[in-house]
């Protein structure tokens, strides 16, 4: 069975992608899936070569044939998403592709057409194949795009007999995150010792419990507020979730990313610690 590991964080900017990148060099039978389709940054560090690039069709959207339209306004009044204005102009970013407008149009002026909502990339990296995607800014249905990235990563894993998939998830708790965590073997939640970090962690933990996923937590930059870090640990104890790592703030981590180096491959002391290697062992199991 494939070992699928997802790295998520309720709050953005906690160091999720830097951590994901830091784990990758320790696996040799890996497929990498960057599911943070709003902010796909993993490849900035991993620097894979693009093997294939293709459009992803998320759903169908209406197109109006104005020669046939008699401006009766039925599509406008029937649309529950306010995606068609009074003067019969479609607001694409509001449309959810339900096709009610096509159905109600008395003159058959509306037809549904495939809509590209993002791009999917197959890349070759020194650590193994990688699938990532980019949502077109302003598009919806990032959940679908995430599901597609995971599906492709699984296909590659089956085909090439690779036993581990590492998934860089997205922040938040909506459909894109739900798509990223369903059916994984392990979830690693990255948080930070701030009032926002704790607040968002609670929501993610709630989500994880709903989906019965095995989860452990990393407190990144824990020494920026020892008291908050302690509060987070206390909360996690109460929830029966292990704090598997506490990573100190180190300006060298930021610097390594600025130099496009994976933090764990530079000589930052933390990444030679026993705790770090125990964590990698846990992921491998």
């Amino acid at each position: 069975m494939i070992n699928e590991i997802v790295i998520i964080s309720g709050k953005g900017g906690t160091g999720k992608t830097s951590l994901t990148a830091s784990i990758i060099p320790y696996f040799n039978d890996l497929v990498i899936a960057d599911c943070d389709v709003d902010a796909p940054d993993l490849n900035i560090l991993i620097q894979g070569d693009t093997v294939e690039e293709k459009d992803f069709i998320g759903f169908q959207r209406p197109i109006i044939n104005y020669d046939k339209c008699n401006y009766c306004g039925l599509c406008h009044t029937s649309c529950n998403f306010n995606a068609i204005s009074e003067d019969i102009i479609i607001n694409e970013s509001a449309c959810e592709g339900c096709k009610v407008c096509e159905y109600v149009c008395p003159t058959n002026a509306i037809t549904m057409h495939d809509t590209v909502i993002g791009k999917i990339f197959h890349r070759k990296t020194v650590f193994g194949p990688m699938i990532d995607a980019r949502l077109i800014p302003g598009e919806e249905s990032s959940g679908k795009l995430v599901a597609e990235v995971r599906k492709l990563a699984r296909e590659v894993a089956y085909k090439e007999n690779r036993n581990t998939i590492i998934i860089d998830g997205s922040p938040g708790i909506a459909c894109n995150v739900i798509s990223a965590i369903t059916g994984v073997s392990k979830a690693i939640i990255v948080t930070e010792p701030t009032i926002s970090g704790l607040h968002d962690l609670k929501k993610v933990v709630h989500l994880i419990k709903m989906f019965s996923v095995e989860a452990k937590v990393i407190i990144n930059k824990y020494d920026l507020s020892l008291s908050k870090a302690k509060e987070i640990k206390k909360y996690l104890d109460l929830m029966g979730i292990e704090t598997i790592l506490e990573i100190p703030f180190d300006i060298e981590i930021v610097n390594s990313i600025s130099n496009l180096q994976i933090p764990s491959t530079t000589n930052i002391p933390f990444f030679t610690s026993k705790k770090w290697f125990e964590f990698i062992e846990y992921l491998r199991k």
């Binding site: 998320g58 599901a147 599906k151 459909c175 739900i178 798509s179 369903t182 059916g183 989906f211 019965s212």
Partner: protein, 119 residues
């Protein structure tokens, strides 16, 4: 009696799938005709609600029993509504093997959810 098995390919010697709603194929065994057929699972590409859709496809075909790796809560609810019984098979077997296991009454029936669904 018709039994559907989620599988990676379209014949009885294929490996079973580790997913139900988004499996590639369903191999269908007809116990009266003693024959195997298969269908491609069109629910697999659904943006959301693949579980319910897959069950509807099977329900419309008059399936009585499904053999599955796991089920989401929606698929299970739908199976119950279509009066289709579900049994869980172990991974890494072939369609034929899990069918034998079923007739030997070695597969547990699924009554509560074993996994959660995706959107």
């Amino acid at each position: 009696m018709k039994i559907a098995i989620s599988s990676l390919e379209n014949n009885e010697n294929s490996k079973v799938s580790d997913r139900f709603a988004r499996t590639e194929y369903f191999v269908i065994y007809d116990h009266e005709a003693l024959s195997f057929t298969s269908i491609e699972n069109t629910a697999k590409s659904a943006g959301s609600g693949a579980g319910g859709k897959a069950v509807k496809i099977l329900g419309d075909l008059g399936i009585d029993i499904v053999l599955v790796p796991e089920l989401g809560p929606k698929a299970l609810e739908a199976l119950e509504a279509f009066e289709i019984k579900s049994y869980q098979y172990p991974r890494e077997k072939t369609v034929r093997e899990v069918l034998y296991l079923y007739f030997e009454k070695k597969l547990p029936e699924l009554l509560i959810s074993t996994s959660k669904g995706r959107h």
